[in-house]
Symmetry: C3
Subunit: 398 residues, 3 copies
């Protein structure tokens, strides 16, 4: 009761257009509510089909207290199995990735097939019903080769996004990408501070010198608007420039939120890399560098930035009230060969540096928000998307 | 109130024959209740008289927030003194073990004799009554040379166990054993997960390859029953084979729970060691290896496994809600000489390896139990003793 | 409600003349109240004017969740600015000390002048009022060159202390001192245990052998009283010997508590150093060593010990419920030259060793206080000041 009251009071005190009160980042009951209403409800990127090409291939997708086995089943479909034995709860699969015929719990050797069905439970009595003791399953949906997972009982629909963005997936060849490398960045701050940081480019110019040399959106608003106008007028490519703004509170009822947009890079910059130089073969149906990058977002914590020759995926996940992780995924064309067509160091340089900068920023933000003297501050127009995030967040926990 | 309600609700939801709900492992108020109703009430192994042969010899017994000085007093009796100065609460004794004439607090030099009596308090006023400011004392009982301690005001009786098992203590020569070595294994999981792990051998075959080569009880139930039957029929030894099953909820009113049983080893195995080979001189009145081992348990967290040539002691103690320790004691015949009659590496090999395996298992169990998707699972008949533990546990906290 | 009740109950159970119940050190709600009623209300030493001689010089003063920029403004006055950006709360200043023209937030580049005024906020709308978005300011008061800070809205008055001790500041030349070195000692215990330790010299003889060779107050009470009487009778110096006892609960209404006293050293000892040997030039107007030391205290957590040739400052601050820091400041005459007139190792030896001893004592005290069997114990007359501290503490949180 008391806790519910204090959360209601917090929510009532929220002022749109301002940053959140300190208590939103510190309340353990609110954190539980976020896990339930956000992370166990919305779609989250787990990975890409290229990571598990063969039957029995699997990898683990983990956050907060959850571990999910993402595996390719016998019929070739992708399954997501909760990594929690139905006997006494042990982790069933202890390897990060690999190939398995079945998943056998290391504790008492209960064994589950690739669909999660319990196929062996030693010496259990005859009245024990194996069919009711399979691993719990999460929902899986593929979007252009990307594997999304929802822990909800009745997940939101991805149909609008799938229909709307089919041409984008096609043009960039999502189905034929491969994961070049994935890196995990732990951040000692509440997940919202990390997510908010990603929502806005108001901080790009002061905080990310290298990023700001590449992306027009780091320019001052007037200059950016002008460059974008020119870009939209002159773009002759097949790649879609029309934005889809169904993110956060703008999502349609029953549909998962998503977003698409395409923005110019600074003149002469071809990719998100040192000096804007190419770093990998052109993606999908692209025939030349267009000095632009597309943004794409699905659900509240998964973002993509599509350069002409590679794609970044970003995923923000809580590990506890005060800690989160940012997972970065670098995708390249499926037939690109490491060491020949691309080099990991060159490919990952810009965003590895950028995310390390962000980590510092986010932790210094957390320190200040922890102060007794912190008060919600006025947000700028350049933080409009963050304002949508906060409005949506307040609804999500209400 | 709220917390009491949520604990009552948890208890009401308990289903005998199933593992516990997640909240039993995560609730800090429940943890306090466990400390009070279990660890401050039941008898716990502190050590063996051979550790403190001389007047003034002492060692510390520590768990959770408690530190207890176990010492031999002037009259030769064993005393257990709470290591908490009666002035401002400082630890009085900072050494793990040693010999002392008196215990003098390092803070303000208040001094206590071996019975805990305050014998000096510098410059205190005349109205200060030293006789009321001795160290708190815990109850001590010896059982065949083993030192048990109870922090209860009115401890449970050990009389039934003492009477019942007198012949066991005598045959194995408990009084004349000595502690060869003690090792502490910290485990990052709630103490119940560790204790439950020790209750059952359903996991022995899949988890403990080396243990399973020695102990018949790791076999499948039918095979074990058959081997046990043969063993009982053919055993010609003086060592008792008749079981005493007064463990957990089977304890008699007012008596501490305990258990005794004797089980065969795999044919040809003589001791709990690499290849089942002898590792020390035969205990007590034993004249030959009998390819068997006795189990013995006192209270809820102290267990013994008696091989013909050495005895293991196990003690599971909480350090916090999410952490516990398993202390292992290796006992050998009192006149055995290290380096000549036994070698520590050989003596400790099997159980050192086994407990390290268990640590991994227990932590992987904890990880799964922490999942939102964990549900209590059906226990097998091979987990019968764990079922008694859980039934008793529920009563203990009710 | 429940929490308020349990705090009231604790307070009601307090017995003057006894140490505190365990819960006073463990209750997180009480800790919040302490921060509010003590650390956000009373004056605390931040440093000395010699640390920031030039306009724009600054250093950070940090404790618990707060960071305060102490800087010299354009008009030469000292300002204390809360290091929390008024936009989204980021730390504005990340350097421990330095010189700045302005403080520019690293996140979105809002910029504040040396008085905390917001002077630039990129691309904010026209309706945004910069004048309402300056950094929060804490109150600053100088006392003989020492910088004190209060986070209170309406701070207590320091006027009584300033008037009363003006001659002391003058005689020891406080204005012309300089900070030789500052060291921070983290202590894993509640701040009160550290503060209580500093309140009394009952522990000096058993715990601090080296200190006890220097300070008469470590002697037994009768001997000390006798030496003090002799000292007061024979002292011919200008340095004040008359005590001012307005500490803790003895403070006058609306005034900050403070204390002054002068005590003899052991015969032949000239300074707080190895063997009592001189370690730096005589302070202020002193012309010879007087074998004495003055104590001076302002507010509840700042203490000074003035030897004839250097001054120690002590500051006890919480970092969390279970952790605190003790900051030690060594001051010498402003014109003393390191390496020539004093040597840091020699200067800091006694109190570096003493505080390390205290750290051990305090942690062993904490361990015992954490025991279920700890009870408040009777304090001695030698702990009279601690008794005042505890009486005041109880009032402060009531």
């Amino acid at each position: 009761m008391k806790s519910e009251n204090s959360i209601s009071k917090l929510i009532k005190g929220y002022k749109p257009g301002y940053s959140l009160e300190q208590a939103f980042y510190k309340n353990p009951d609110l954190y539980k509510k976020e896990i339930e209403n956000i992370f166990h409800k919305h779609w989250i990127l787990a990975g890409h089909i290229s990571q598990i090409p063969e039957v029995g291939d699997f990898f683990l997708f983990e956050f907060a207290n959850e571990s999910i086995i993402v595996t390719r089943s016998k019929d070739g479909s992708i399954k997501a199995l909760l990594n929690v034995c139905r006997h006494r709860g042990s982790r069933v699969c202890l390897e990060d990735k690999g190939n398995a015929k079945a998943f056998t719990c290391p504790y008492h050797a209960w064994s589950f097939d690739l669909d999660g069905k319990l196929i062996a439970a030693r010496y259990m009595n005859d009245d024990f019903d194996k069919s009711e003791n399979g691993l719990h399953r999460a929902h899986v949906e593929l979007a252009g080769g990307l594997i999304f997972i929802s822990l909800a009982e009745h997940p939101l629909s991805l149909s609008q996004m799938q229909d709307d963005l089919a041409d984008v997936f096609d043009q960039f060849g999502f189905d034929n990408m491969k994961l070049a490398i994935q890196k995990t960045y732990p951040i000692n701050a509440n997940w919202k501070l990390a997510n908010e940081n990603y929502q806005e480019c108001y901080h790009c110019a002061p905080s990310h010198k290298d990023f700001a040399k590449i992306h027009a959106m780091a320019l001052n608003p007037a200059k950016f608007d002008q460059q974008k106008e020119t870009f939209l007028k002159t773009s002759e490519s097949n790649i879609r420039t029309k934005p889809s703004s169904f993110y956060f509170d703008l999502a349609k009822d029953g549909q998962e939120g998503y977003q698409y947009d395409r923005n110019p890079l600074i003149k002469g910059m071809m990719s998100g890399s040192k000096g804007g130089k190419p770093v990998a073969p052109l993606l999908g149906k692209l025939e030349k560098y267009e000095c632009a990058a597309s943004e794409f977002m699905v659900g509240p914590v998964t973002f993509f930035l599509i350069y002409d020759d590679h794609m970044l995926g970003y995923r923000f996940l809580p590990t506890s009230l005060d800690e989160c992780i940012c997972d970065l995924f670098w995708f390249v064309r499926g037939d690109a060969v490491e060491g020949k067509d691309y080099d990991l160091e060159t490919l990952t340089w810009l965003w590895h540096e950028t995310i390390l900068d962000d980590e510092k920023i986010i932790i210094d933000n957390k320190k200040g928000v922890d102060s007794h003297f912190y008060k919600p501050g006025k947000l700028s127009d350049m933080e409009a998307m963050e304002q949508h995030f906060l409005d949506w967040y307040i609804k999500s926990i209400s």
